[in-house]
Amino acid sequence: MTSTTLSPVPTAAPARVSGPAAARARRKRVLHWIAVHCVAIAVALLFVLPFVFVFLTSVMSDSQAMSGDLWPHAWHWENYKAVFATDGFLDWWKNSLLYAGLGTLFTVCSAIPVAYALAKFRFRGRRTAMILVISTMMLPPQVIVIPMYLVWAQQFHLSGTLWPLIIPMAFGDAYSIFLLRQFLLTIPKEYIESAKVDGCSELRTLLKIIVPMAKPGIAAIALFQFFYCWNDYFGPQIYAAQNPASWTLSYGLESFKSAHSVNWNLTMAATLLVMAPVCIVFFFAQKAFVEGVTLTGVKG
């Protein structure tokens, strides 16, 4: 009897069967609820605290940032101004936006027709083509970087710029093709067939029927590509390292730390400024993003 009175969940309906067995089951449910949420809160803290510490350090004074203090004595918002005033910081932003913006545009435009053909056309060698796309996707970028660099540097004299990274994206990125194809497979054939009956050409069908229906898939590959370019460190290191005017935020951040070796506060402010755009984009496009991630693991 005591167990019923102790239970924090009020008995809802009088019609419900009460008694020791029901009370035990209810108590078990409540305990389960508490346990799950306690674990969840603890894990969430571990995931969020790094951001909190980075932020708190970013507004400390120079001397306090070198101490072991966790909480700022005074809030030095001017640290952020100092980061923006750093030589080149605004150029890094511009370059990151150029690389990620153009790269995304090129990738999406080139991936759509290829993914459509791989998903909906029947032709000899389709399976082989898919295997090749997947192999390209799995290839570590370091495998082909040396001959590629030699071509861009010696034949086209484009080392020191971001163009060797942007131009290839106009020729289909394997990962985007693969993801978009997985998405296009879910569009029923009937839509394409009825468009053909109406006399649409293949290209018209793609642009007028498929692209509008595939918006979530296209949004997902666009987001992924934007993030990939924004986060890329290896590419800019290969092609832009010699020329600070071409550095991106991801590449510049590390040299920022080297230049301000003792100023953890400025480095943390810069770190947050590199993270911020990605997080903002995420909050606006959360659904497309989660959908895209799920798409990578689609089952057969």
Binding site: W33, H37, A40, A44, F47, P50, F53, T57, M66, S67, G68, A111, V114, A117, L118, F121, R127, I131, V133, I134, S135, T136, M138, L139, P140, Q142, V143, I144, I146, P147, M148, P168, A170, F171, G172, I177, Q182, K196, S201, E202, F227, W230, Y233, I238, A241, S250, Y251, L253, E254, S258, M268, T271, L272, M275, V278, V293, T294, G297, K299, G300
Partner: protein
């Protein structure tokens, strides 16, 4: 219209047209450089004088003499085994946890997911700060509860485990994939198992596990392929922790401390772009390529969903 579409030659042309961006991209940015990598692996080439055929000398050098090849291969394999295993276990646990949360699921999902979005360089810089031995918040908090924290990124024995912590922080992608897979398990199967008196563990073992194995397999294989390429975090962590200022052109020994964070991709970079030993760098590239291809073959053979849903 209908007449032209049915002509097979036209159809072939149409298919080629749609595929052309990728066909060009594949040959110019994949097939050519791959063949060139094989070619350069038999050449002595310092990127100034003409390449010079040297037979297997680069291969012998890499496997028999290159002092850093052993440590780099060991570190890469260590990371592949430990990081992938822990990420899969942790990602699956978080996926299970999130499907059990009844109140505030949206908040928790975002909190678990957000770190995955942090750009790798930024996340690494943040972790080197958080884990810095003398004044970092983590050791500061550990000291409060009476534990002397390790030297993390500044200790050869702790540098790789610190990188693993960093990768577990960014578990969001796996969590979402596992969450989706777990929500796909038919409810009725759990109810049937409950009627048979199955406990939590047997429900996981006999209902959940069989239906998510393809996704687990997928996570393991893509994890292995990603970790083979592990570069940015290891390089940045080593550089920042060492406090070495790196101007363009200056050559530093990678893999601080004591080569403990040196991975094979870093060795490719330092051979090819710092030592200008093109031949050795290409041999290392091909070693990476061989391992990545072997894993990919496994991925395509096993039922992991990549080639499935063909029609």
């Amino acid at each position: 219209m209908a007449l032209t579409l049915s002509s097979p030659a036209r159809r072939r042309l149409r298919t080629l047209g749609f595929l052309s961006p990728w066909l060009i991209g594949f040959s110019v940015f994949f097939a050519y450089p791959l063949i060139a990598t094989v070619y350069f692996s038999f050449m002595h080439y310092n990127q100034i004088q003409k390449p010079d055929f040297v037979g297997l000398r680069n291969w012998k050098y890499v496997f028999e003499q290159m002092p850093l090849f052993g440590p780099a291969l060991w570190n890469t394999l260590w990371l592949v085994v430990v990081m992938v295993a822990l990420r899969v276990v942790f990602g699956l646990s978080l996926g299970l946890l999130i499907t059990k949360i009844k109140t505030g699921a949206g908040f928790f999902r975002t909190a678990f997911y957000l770190p995955y979005l942090a750009p790798p360089v930024a996340a690494t810089v943040a972790f080197v700060f958080l884990l810095n031995p003398s004044t970092g918040p983590v050791n500061e908090i550990l000291a409060h509860v009476g534990i002397t924290g390790p030297n993390w990124f500044n200790d050869a024995a702790w540098a790789k485990p610190s990188l693993v912590l960093l990768s577990l922080w960014g578990i969001g992608d796996l969590m979402v994939i596992f969450m989706a897979a777990l929500l796909d398990v038919p409810r009725e199967q759990y109810e049937a198992a409950e009627l048979d008196g199955a406990g939590a563990w047997s429900k996981f073992r006999y209902v959940t596990w069989p239906s998510i194995t393809p996704i687990v397999m997928f996570a393991v294989v893509t994890g292995v392929v990603q970790t083979m390429q592990y570069y940015t975090q290891a390089l940045v962590a080593g550089k920042i922790a060492s406090g070495v200022s790196i101007g363009p052109g200056s050559v530093i020994q990678p893999g601080y401390p004591d080569h403990s964070t040196l991975t094979v991709p870093q060795l490719v970079y330092s051979m090819g772009f710092q030592n200008f030993n093109t031949g050795a760098a290409c041999v290392l590239s091909l070693v990476l390529f061989a391992i990545a291809m072997a894993v990919t073959m496994l991925l395509m053979r096993k039922r992991s969903g990549l080639l499935a849903a063909e029609d």
